[in-house]
Structure formats: structure tokens, C-alpha cells
């Protein structure tokens, strides 16, 4: 009996294509059973495993330039900070897929991982998830709902990987068809700005895109080896990569 050889799932987001429409955020919430925001939720306390951030070059008038940067879990590969700090072993870097897994059932809610994450890609469930009456029927049965008091984040729509594995197993195949596994944000993007796939596969589009001269990673100097890449032909956008979030916000 064979199991699939190790993969390293990653994505490349083309910022020159991103229109900031937010379809990825909506698709992410729908796919992963993220409840509608609580009345008291703020950008810090709400749940946005995929968040489109708007950044400008600080110029005025004709000199002003803006870019939308979709930020999600970067699935850091080296000394993954959230894995390192978790006292519960509730986070792990899956060797088989390269995906950084969060186990909400093990999480005690200390939020060390949120502090450790350089990308602010982790979110805490401050309230019980609640859906308006009738909307609970839209819940995705392949993803468990998280309770109040635990941290959650992007896991590259792991439920979709399960579906692809089931399909491959039913067909008697050991390996999944790469076309069967695409996260919701990738599927929803109207401008096809996000390329997703196995970075280990020499033939994959994502590997080629990640090695393009225009591609870069956020805060690469930290050495955490993120598997989410960005690309842009604009010099100033590439220059944002090494700046901290506070600096970027100040413009």
C-alpha cells in the first residue's frame, strides 16, 4: 500500500492582479464555517483567516499609489514560530503536506502563537460562533466549527484536501489529482491572482511562479521560510515586503 510522497503546498499571489474585491475573504469564511462577525468585533478581534490589506506609498495626488495585499497564514517552514511557542502542541508543521496545522481542540487559548506570528495571521475566537436562523444550513460539513476561546487560522482549506484524498482512494489511486485540491480563495479569485499547488513538483505553476524574478516573500529576513509568495512588477510594492506592519500602516 502506497501513500503519497511528501508535498510542500504553497501559493503565489500576484499583487498586480489583485483588485481588492474581497471575494477570497468571503469564500474563505463560507468554506471554513467562520461565523458572521460579532456586533462588538473589531479588525483585531474578528475572524479573518484571509485578510485583504490596503497599503499606499504615502504619496499625494498623482504620486499616490495603492496596492491590496491579501494576507493569510504563510505556512512558515523553518522554525515555524507558532509551532515553537505553543505549550499545548496544538500546532504542527505537517511533514506530509507542509501545511501548518492548527488543532482547535488542543488549544488552551493562551494566544502565544498570535504574539509569535509576524504576519498577524492568527485569530482568537472571542465569542461563541452564531449563525442567523436558517444560515446554519449553509455550514460546510467537512469543517468542524471552532468554539469560543481557541485560536484559528488558514490551513489551506484542509477539508478540500480530505475530499481530494477520498476521491483518489475511491478511484484506486495513491496520489490526488492536483486539480481536485484548490483552496476556496484560489477558486474565488476573479482575476486568478492566486496560484496554488505543490512547491516540490517541478512541473507545477506555483513552483515556476515562486521562482519568478518578480516574486518575493513578506519579512523574508526573519528566516521563517514562508510558503506564501507574492509577486509584483512594481518596485515600491516589492519594497514593502521587508517593512513591518506598523511602518506600512503609517505609510
Amino acid at each position: 500500500m502506497k501513500t503519497q510522497k511528501p508535498r510542500r503546498y504553497g501559493m503565489v499571489i500576484d499583487l498586480d492582479r489583485c483588485t481588492g474585491c474581497g471575494a477570497c475573504m468571503t469564500a474563505c469564511a463560507a468554506e471554513n464555517n467562520v461565523a458572521p462577525g460579532h456586533a462588538k468585533a473589531t479588525p483585531r478581534t474578528g475572524l479573518t483567516p484571509m485578510l485583504v490589506q490596503r497599503v499606499s506609498n504615502g504619496g499625494a495626488g498623482a504620486d499616490r499609489r495603492e496596492v491590496f495585499i491579501p494576507v493569510t497564514c504563510m505556512h512558515c517552514e523553518h522554525e515555524t514560530p507558532c509551532v515553537t511557542v505553543c505549550p499545548q502542541q496544538a500546532v504542527e508543521l505537517d511533514k506530509a503536506t507542509g501545511i501548518v496545522n492548527q488543532m482547535p481542540q488542543r488549544c488552551l487559548g493562551c494566544r502565544y502563537c498570535m504574539t509569535a506570528c509576524a504576519y498577524h495571521a492568527r485569530y482568537f475566537n472571542w465569542w461563541d460562533p452564531e449563525w442567523p436562523v436558517g444560515m446554519e444550513r449553509t455550514l460546510n460539513p467537512g469543517v468542524a466549527v471552532r468554539m469560543r476561546g481557541v485560536v484559528e487560522k488558514c490551513n489551506f482549506c484542509h477539508g478540500r484536501l480530505h475530499e481530494a484524498e477520498d476521491k483518489a482512494a475511491a478511484a484506486g489511486k495513491a496520489e490526488i489529482d492536483p486539480a481536485d485540491y484548490r483552496p476556496a480563495c484560489v477558486e474565488a479569485c476573479a482575476t486568478q491572482a492566486i496560484v496554488f499547488g505543490d512547491l516540490n513538483d517541478p512541473a507545477s505553476d506555483v513552483r515556476k511562479a515562486s521562482r519568478h524574478e518578480d516574486s518575493f516573500r513578506l519579512l523574508a529576513r526573519l528566516g521563517t521560510e514562508p510558503k506564501v509568495y507574492y509577486r509584483s512588477k512594481q518596485e515600491w510594492v516589492r519594497g514593502l515586503a521587508e517593512r513591518g506592519q506598523q511602518e506600512v500602516r503609517r505609510g
Partner: protein, 194 residues
Amino acid sequence: MIRGLCFFLIGVAAIQVAGWVGLPKALYVTKAQPFEYRHKTHAEKSGSAECDGCHTLGADGVFAGLPKTESCAACHTEPQGKSAAEATLVSSYVKTEKETPWLVYARQPANVRFSHAIHTKRAKLACERCHGKHGESDTLRPYQENRISGYSRDIWGRSISRWKRVANEGMKMDDCEGCHKQQGFDTGCLSCHR
């Protein structure tokens, strides 16, 4: 002194008995299925003893679980006999087109991902490996629900202490992991959780 020791030992024995005999009984509540169902009769009448004749696994790897009422309605538009189960099935579910709220012995918690496709197709495990000889049974055995967790007793297994556990008994995470480790399979959290 001796008398006091006797009382003490009797007390310890009484607590042990209460804990090991009484508590497991109190922990589980026996619930009745909506109506009687006979796997054996259905296998005989349909001429097929294959589980996946009714509990189908789709080409997309999605396991259908229990058949829908419309499958029952293919034969049971009218009661097939005079039993109470027939009357209940036809009047409460077939006529009203409602799904039967079966109590599922092997139902796992919502955060567990179990793939029938992988276990039956790739690993070639027989259904009986986990479900026993349920398909040949002539009656639905009592369903016991844990009062605290709400899960079926099959998840923990018959024996509360799990001492001298019968093979294949229980479907706890330890049981899954034990086999996966033995077989040398990946035991990453999200392989089996969702």
C-alpha cells in the same frame, strides 16, 4: 481495632463495586431506535449481502452512510406485513417523506474525519473490521448513549476499564492511532481531524 478495619475494608469494597459496576450503568442511557430493522431479512429479500448495496460509496469518494427514506419507499409504499415497525415506517416516514432519525452506533464527533473510501478501498479493510457482523443481525442491538458526551458507547467500547479489551472494540483516538502507528502511516493531526 479489627472491627474498624473490617468496616474500612467493607467500605472500600462497596465503593469499588459502585464505581466499577454501578457507575458504568448510570453513565449510559439506553435509547430505542425509531423502529425495528432487520439487516438479515433485507439481505435475503434483496438477494445481496454486500454492505455497499445500500451504504454506497460514490465515485467521488463520498460515503452515503444510511440510505434515505426514498430508498425505503421503493418497496415500502404500503406496509409489508402487520408489524408495528412497518406501520411506523410507512405512516411516519415514507408518507411524510421525512428521514428516519436513526441512532448511529459508530457516529464520531464532528471534528473527526473518517474516510470510508481510504479504509475500504485503499487499505482494503472489511466493513466487519469496525462494525462487526451488523449486516447479518436479525435485530438492532440497544443503542447506549453516554450521558455526558452524548456519544455512542461503541466509541469508548463495552469495557469501561478497557482492560482485556476485545480486538476492534472501541473507536477512540488511541485506537485509530494505534493501528496507524503499527502500519507506519502518517499521524498528523489534520489527517484525521477537520
